[in-house]
């Protein structure tokens, strides 16, 4: 019902907008304006400042709410939610609502060049890295700095090879900029060392999807929420991280009374809000690191007690492979009692047999109901916390296993939905802006697709084949390579280095040695501390267009005013869109490396219109759409619509409020794309694959194991002891990328990167002072996010959001507060083997230290990373940098680090 209603709404809207656009093609020159707004703007023109409304996707989390940017004379003055957008239906959270506030603050206005630059070719290390005051920089013209960068990079490429150049991109860049940066690295420079902050966000889900489904495609839509019979969240504090998605779930729960499950070590706001709706069918697995085992145990109970919910053998044989081994292993080793015993050392029996059996019963009931009705079933969300583990890929696979076993896929209202953190992380993945990846879900070592992309990029096929032979051990390994003198220079585009783990011993020493080229918007952004050349960039709302893709595969256009301003309202003439700067760098480097510039980067700056002086992102987007032909993310239907109906690509996205990929045909593109994937749901007659885009067309099971070793902790101790050697001394080896076997061992047994001194914590006579005296680390420390902030740059510069949570805090359980005599609001220092930060103690939900939404269990601490540089980015004054303490250990397949389980102690200040 809900679905039908939504589609009618959308259809009527489309008809209306088609009719009205036809009538108004001659109206105002600004292409990004809402149709409705054009008229009101004309009416208001006589009255004062020109008011316009631009369409965009919210620049914060991966939910991707439709947002209307209120513009007054080219200045962004406000944000309002888009009532026509199918994702948020007129809802918005406070971050998005205040997204305009940090736009004109602390802006970088000039191109800066460090006076004393690091030069890895000569081995010179700058003495001023770690500082960003005016003294250490000189101003330069854009052209001079571009030439300087191109000369240097080209000389490194010639001397050390293309792979000596690295790039860290962003899930906040537009799709077009991501396409160009990938072309710049893999095609022009010939480097496979391209990474992005998507690595720390989503790659565990990505690699899990590839393993199980054969393509990095979340198969579901948000509209599945309102059709599901049972919704589960794994490692996902949705109320904080993805509020609009969460409230859609809670709203639906209130209306229909569906059961819900949250698996999280903390009692988060997500848990309590669902309990507020209905405490009798809201469940909470309070587990740390045990998700794989519990998922397997749910499968065990379903197999043993609810066999009707298991898909028939012939179905499993026809559509999947590897299920027999999975079933056998789960039956043998994952009974609830076995699992709870095996995890007791860490989980201390917080999850019970009864809970697991109850969840299995609900899961089975929902699965059967969904199958009977042809819609509904179990819908599973998981968040970044679930991905950020040593065994993140296995976490994802375990969820998919259970969904395959119970047939919760291939129909509306059920399925697996990974929720991205960044607004455009999905595009970073789809554009292949990661080591070893090509655009559109294909690996770099797929020769056929590689040749096709080489042709699309206009680079020699051999050149790209050469790139494919290069190795890069993902982002953390890439920085280790820098310390090992294997990487010479790095680009940082629209991302900060403080999202990476182990800053003091790994990231910052590496950036000190490297020649770093930074594109940023803020004058006091942490990246400037280690930048050799800094280019001011335009930000969201200022770009002359650009596409974002949110978590339900929806491509949506971000319109902008095309100009940047500083606090005083002066135009920043030097600020350019990231895509433009990437194109300029590509052109300069291609020329210096003897490549055909005109063929690779044919784009020209516009000379007239409202966006004169910038490249046209829509032209680049058209090239991207063309290149998608034949992939499982084919969106060439948009081109057909443009040809047959004469509607521009961006206009199609604007009118439909986004199109969900794939959209391979005219009809599918006109209908807004494909809401659901796999099992023939696409309605795509000539899909380039069978039911699943894997070889053989089948989905794949894999039993993921978890075992802490003899007596429940031997293996944990052993591996944690080994891992403790990494990051012990700043800037020095050993390097973990040279010991991937250790990471694989940790992954295969689903271990933790560190192990606190739990015996110390369990000894009730020990105090905080004892821990310091005996050099013990008795607490688990998890890092994450808080509702009021998005990451570390923008919301801490917006007064509304900063005021709400202005200070770094650490959540301590009420029992620990009493035991150690820690008062609510007391200032403490959190110390791990690699560093420390200061924070205010926040105890429970009645704490005066806000937001006070969560309660932790005894022995577990939690801090958000959002406030890392809210005091000051300057290391001399920065006390809140949480990633100074985290461990670098990563999942050997996905490359994602484990931020959730550090060993820490508390020291009084």
């Amino acid at each position: 019902m809900v679905d039908r209603k939504a589609s009618i709404n959308r259809r009527t809207f489309l008809e209306l907008s088609a009719a009205t656009v036809a009538a108004s093609t001659t109206a105002s020159a600004h292409p990004g304006e809402l149709y409705e707004a054009k008229h009101s703007a004309a009416d208001l023109a006589a009255q004062g400042p020109r008011r316009r409304v631009l369409q965009a996707q919210c620049p914060y989390c991966g939910v991707g709410c439709g947002t209307l940017i209120q513009v007054e004379d080219d200045r962004i003055v406000g944000i309002s939610p888009d009532k026509q957008h199918p994702t948020n239906k007129g809802l918005q959270c406070i971050k998005g609502l205040n997204a305009h506030e940090p736009t004109y603050r602390d802006r970088l206005t000039r191109v800066l060049v460090r006076k004393d630059m690091s030069d890895p070719a000569t081995g010179h290390v700058s003495a001023t890295k770690g500082r960003f005051d005016d003294e250490v920089f000189r101003e330069a013209s854009y052209e001079e700095a571009e030439a300087l960068v191109a000369d240097r990079i080209a000389s490194y490429v010639k001397q050390f090879g293309g792979n000596s150049i690295g790039l860290n991109g962003s899930g906040q860049l537009t799709m077009e900029a991501q396409w160009i940066e990938n072309l710049l690295m893999k095609g022009v420079i010939g480097s496979n060392s391209i990474e992005a902050n998507a690595r720390m966000c989503m790659t565990s889900a990505v690699t899990g999807y590839f393993h199980s489904y054969g393509s990095d495609t979340p198969p579901t839509s948000y509209d599945d929420i309102e059709q599901a019979d049972f919704i589960t969240f794994w490692g996902h504090n949705a109320r904080d991280a993805h509020p609009i998605l969460f409230w859609r779930v809670a709203d639906y729960k209130e209306k229909t009374g569906i059961p819900t499950l949250v698996s999280d070590p903390r009692r988060t706001g997500t848990v309590t809000a669902l309990e507020d709706v209905n405490p009798r069918n809201s469940y909470h697995f309070q587990t740390l690191n045990g998700d794989i085992s519990y998922l397997n145990a749910i499968a065990h109970v379903i197999l043993a007690k609810h066999p009707a919910a298991v898909m028939p053998e012939e179905w499993l044989d026809r559509h999947t492979e590897g299920w027999r081994e999975y079933v056998a292993g789960v039956k043998e080793r994952y009974s609830p009692a076995q699992v709870i015993e095996r995890l007791r050392y860490v989980d201390e029996g917080r999850v019970t047999v009864e809970q697991i059996e109850k969840i299995a019963a609900l899961w089975a009931e929902a699965s059967l109901k969904g199958r009977r009705q042809g819609r509904g079933g179990v819908l599973t969300f998981w968040g970044i916390g679930y991905n950020q583990m040593l065994h993140g890929q296995h976490n994802t696979i375990s969820i998919i296993n259970l969904h395959l076993l119970t047939g919760n896929l291939g129909r509306p209202g059920c399925g697996t939905h990974s929720q991205t953190g960044q607004p455009n992380a999905m595009s970073e993945r789809l554009m292949g802006g990661l080591t070893g990846r090509l655009p559109f879900n294909k690996p770099l070592d797929d020769p056929k697709w590689r040749d096709w992309i080489a042709d699309c990029w206009g680079v020699e096929r051999d050149r790209l084949a050469q790139t494919a032979g290069l190795k890069n051990p993902m982002v953390i390994g890439m920085l280790e390579r820098a310390l090992n003198d294997d990487l010479k220079a790095m680009f940082w585009m629209y991302t900060t280095h403080i999202h990476l783990p182990d800053l003091n011993t790994l990231v910052r020493p590496a950036m000190t040695k490297l020649f770093c080229v930074v594109q940023d918007i803020y004058r006091h952004a942490p990246n400037l501390l280690y930048a050799d050349v800094v280019f001011p960039a335009q930000t969201w709302g200022e770009w002359p267009g650009g596409v974002y893709i949110q978590s339900e595969r929806r491509l949506y256009v971000n319109d902008g005013v095309g100009r940047s301003f500083d606090e005083r309202g002066q135009v920043i003439t030097e600020a350019r869109p990231d895509m433009d700067m990437a194109i300029d760098k590509g052109k300069a480097l291609a020329a210096r490396l003897g490549l055909d510039v005109e063929k690779i980067l044919p784009w020209k700056r516009r000379t007239d219109g409202p966006f004169a002086g910038s490249y046209d992102p829509e032209e680049v987007f058209a090239a991207i759409v063309r290149a998608s032909k034949g992939s499982d993310a084919d969106v060439t239907g948009l081109l057909e619509v443009r040809e047959r109906d004469g509607v521009g690509l961006y206009d199609q996205l604007r009118r439909l409020r986004g199109i969900q990929w794939p959209a391979p045909t005219y009809e599918i593109a006109k209908a807004g794309g494909t809401p659901r994937r796999y099992m023939g749901q696409e309605g795509w007659d000539e899909a380039p694959y069978a039911l699943f885009p894997r070889q053989g067309g089948k989905a794949k099971f894999k039993l993921c194991e978890q075992d802490y070793g003899a007596d429940g902790s031997a293996l944990l101790r052993e591996v944690a002891g080994e891992l403790a050697k990494y990051g012990a001394r700043p800037g020095e080896g050993p390097f973990l990328y040279q010991n991937v076997a250790l990471l694989e061992k940790a992954r295969d047994n689903a271990l933790t990167p560190e192990l606190p001194d739990l015996e110390f914590h369990r000894d009730a006579t020990k105090t905080l002072e004892d821990a310091k005296a005996e050099d013990k680390y008795p607490f688990w420390l998890g890092l994450g996010i808080v509702y009021e902030h998005f990451h570390t740059a923008k919301t801490i510069r917006g007064p509304s959001t900063l005021r709400l949570v202005p200070e770094q805090y650490v959540e301590v359980s009420p029992a620990d507060g009493t035991r150690y005599g820690l008062a609510d609001g007391e200032k403490v220092r959190i110390v791990t083997r690699r560093g420390s930060y200061e924070a205010r103690v926040s105890i429970g939900t009645t704490s005066m230290v806000k937001p006070a939404r969560s309660t932790t269990f005894p022995g577990y601490l939690f801090s958000p990373w959002n406030l890392s540089v809210a005091d000051s980015a300057d290391p001399a004054r920065n006390r809140w940098l949480v990633n100074a303490v985290s461990h670098r250990a990563w999942d050997p397949v996905s490359g994602q680090a484990d931020y959730k389980k550090c060993a820490a102690r508390i020291e009084r200040v």
Binding site: G90, I94, T846, M848
Partner: protein, 208 residues
């Protein structure tokens, strides 16, 4: 657009009511900048005014700088012109700085009540039961017409700020706040925290 239109209306309303239509005074105050509250533990208004010796020690004691002396200057932004008996008495404008009930401050009593030499403020201990028993500065109310959470934006900021969260101020679905007057002591932290302008959360002062 909305905000401007609303503001214009609000100002118009304020002007229309400025002539002294007592019934609308609260509305106008809420629209312009909120009303003034007596410090915690204040006795009934008449008794408070007769006991208060304008010594200003409560304000000096306040760790949050919330208490100010009421005079035409301080009242100007808050639609509160002191009457002849009120000039120089202590008052809290929560929009400027709210009463944090001395949470997180050393001591067992609310500092202003401990400092009061005349008994205009009765001594209040810091435990929640005593605060609930003795403190009634006013009652918070939420304007559903302008509150973000009641209008499609999940905000919930006021409830996070409430010292009696879950009792005095509870959030429901979409973080929509609901006040329970039985528990609300009128500290004004919700009004102070509200990110809507004009504030959707405001404290209606206890008048008697």
């Amino acid at each position: 657009m909305n905000r401007r239109a609303f503001l214009r209306n609000a100002v118009a309303l304020g002007v229309a009511c400025g002539g002294g239509v007592a019934l609308f005074r609260g509305e106008a105050e809420a629209a312009r900048g909120g009303a003034g509250l007596r410090p915690p533990g204040a006795r009934s208004e008449a008794e408070f005014l007769s006991r208060c010796i304008r010594c200003f020690r409560c304000a000096d004691a306040c760790p949050n700088g919330a208490i100010v002396a009421l005079n035409p200057q301080t009242g100007r932004d808050f639609s509160r012109t002191p009457g002849p008996a009120e000039a120089g008495t202590p008052v809290i404008f929560p929009r400027r700085q709210a009463c944090m009930l001395c949470q997180g401050v050393p001591g067992d009593e609310l500092l202003c009540t401990a400092a009061c030499p005349s008994g205009a403020l009765q001594l209040v201990r810091k435990d929640p039961a005593d605060i609930q028993a003795k403190v009634r500065m006013g009652t918070a109310r939420i304007d559903h017409n302008i509150c973000y959470s009641w209008n499609c934006a999940s905000c919930g900021v006021c409830a996070r700020a409430c010292p009696f969260e879950g009792r005095a101020l509870k959030v429901g679905i979409f973080e929509r706040p609901v006040v329970d007057p039985a528990y609300c002591v009128g500290c004004g932290l919700c009004e102070r925290a509200c990110i809507r302008y004009p504030q959707a959360a405001s404290v209606e002062p206890r008048r008697a």
